[in-house]
């Protein structure tokens, strides 16, 4: 997967890496579960920074302090591109790829909708959804957790908070699956990915049309709110609203599924932690945070250098791409005691699983609530379960967000 070269010149180039070791790492292929975190650990302990010759070449920062610094300095590390192997993307996600100060205008429109108060408003419905999904599965005695439960739950809760029927998860679940099957680069899936994007777009066009010409915003209806909002005195317009809605779908559903898969694999394999959460359910939020730290689905996060900078000895040039290895940061022994262990009641857990700085995950509060609902409702009905696979589990590569490709679980069903 990697080869480390000595010296500070990039092969075939006159460019200096300022003494940073040069590697070649392509993290996109699927691997056995845990391989990506293992790789991140090795890189972090070998050097705080690398120059990776993958694609056009980009810098990699492996430790907590440097990754946090990257997030907190958008004036140096722009979000114009967030994929280090694609410095000039043809798309521009809003607000994901907008830099301060313009970013705040878009962000403020959306952030109240996903703030803790707003998330609390739908918590009763979210628990109801969780109870129903667990009840549907319980009698089967087995399921593929990441497809049968972990995708469906965040999708239904997301649609609820947006204010459209949660039964439309029947449409969104296959769309999101098809999108990410193609997004990973599988050429056979490109047509399905395009069709999925088309389906998602048309769905929101229909939602917009149903609300057009309404004088007042509908209550508890996010699309209606956007249609009645202004930026700099101008309405947002259909194109921008569609862009925002599509970003929320693509950023929020598959990610929560991925994180839930790792948490439930842990619970399946660690009965002591499972039993502790049943006995002390007040520890569930802490366990959720620990899974975001230890099993972070963000292998790394990219930014584009906006000005020439010497960053901890790395001579960064405007236009260079950098990659903050979030999965390395979240297990950095300079920050965490017993960094590779799952500690249910860990204190001072300042993980970067939801990023940091101005682009801190907008859906963080919602994602936490979804994960809490999943654990509470599942453990109430299915307290004991195990991974039902003799083959090693595989995870999607770190090019997109990571997720287990399959998590077969089984449990005893009483007659």
């Amino acid at each position: 997967m990697t080869s480390t070269a000595k010296g500070d010149r990039i092969e075939g180039s006159e460019r200096s890496t300022g003494g940073c070791p040069v590697i070649h790492l392509d993290a996109s292929p699927p691997l056995e579960v845990g391989s990506h975190w293992q790789k991140a650990n090795e890189m972090r302990e070998a050097s705080p920074a690398f120059f990776n010759t993958h694609a056009q070449g980009y810098w990699v920062f492996t430790r907590y302090d440097e990754v946090r610094e990257m997030y907190q300095h958008p004036e140096i590390f722009s979000s114009e591109s967030i994929t280090p192997w694609e410095p000039d993307p043809v798309y521009r996600f809003v607000p994901t790829q907008i830099d301060p100060p313009e970013h705040a205008k878009y962000r403020q429109l959306i952030s109240s909708w996903f703030a803790p108060n707003a998330v609390k408003r739908i918590a009763p419905e979210a628990h109801e959804i969780g109870r129903r999904l667990v009840a549907d599965l319980a009698a089967r005695g087995e399921c593929d957790f990441v497809t049968d439960f972990a995708m469906r739950l965040p999708t239904e809760i997301f649609l609820t908070i947006i204010g459209v029927p949660n039964s439309d998860a029947d449409l969104f679940v296959p769309w999101v699956e098809d999108f990410f099957a193609g997004f990973g680069g599988d050429l056979a899936q490109q047509e399905a990915m395009g069709a999925a994007l088309g389906g998602i777009g048309q769905y929101w066009v229909d939602v917009l049309d149903a609300r057009r010409h309404e004088a007042q915003p509908r209550e508890n209806d996010f699309v209606s709110l956007l249609m009645h909002s202004e930026i700099d005195g101008e309405p947002l317009g259909d194109a921008l609203i569609l862009d925002i809605l599509t970003v929320l779908v693509l950023a929020g559903l598959d990610t929560t599924r991925g994180q839930l898969g790792y948490l439930f694999r842990h619970l399946a394999e660690h009965p002591d932690d499972r039993h502790r959460l049943i006995a002390e359910p007040e520890l569930i939020p802490s366990a959720v945070e620990e899974s975001l730290r230890l099993y972070t689905i963000v292998f790394g996060d990219g930014r584009k250098v906006a000005q020439d900078t010497d960053f901890h000895g790395c001579p960064l040039t405007k236009g260079d791409m950098v990659y903050g290895l979030v999965s390395g940061a979240n297990r950095d022994p300079r920050v965490y005691d017993r960094p590779d262990e799952f500690i249910v009641d860990r204190r001072s857990n300042n993980h970067l699983g939801f990023a940091g700085g101005p682009h801190r995950c907008l859906g963080a509060h919602l994602a936490r609530m979804v994960m809490k609902v999943a654990v509470e409702e599942w453990l109430t009905v299915i307290p004991d379960f195990e991974v039902a696979s003799v083959e090693p589990l595989m995870e999607r590569g770190g090019g997109a967000m990571m997720t287990l490709l399959s998590l077969p679980l089984s449990w005893e069903v009483s007659a």
Binding site: S111, A115, P116, E289, S348, G356, G357, R360
Partner: protein, 66 residues
Amino acid sequence: MKLSVSAELCRGHGRCYTLAEDLLEDDDEGYVSVRGLIIDVPDDQVDDARNAAGSCPERAITLLED
């Protein structure tokens, strides 16, 4: 003990007011309501305050020992 939250650094992660719920609360946008302020920490909440400060991914919280 006193606690201060940097208005510049706070990004509304929500870790602090979740962990120190008797001391801190959120505003409508999800930021801690005392951004940019210095508050007193009652003796029985010092432990929660330490946990809140240590859990902030932005290191936006500073504790000032008496």
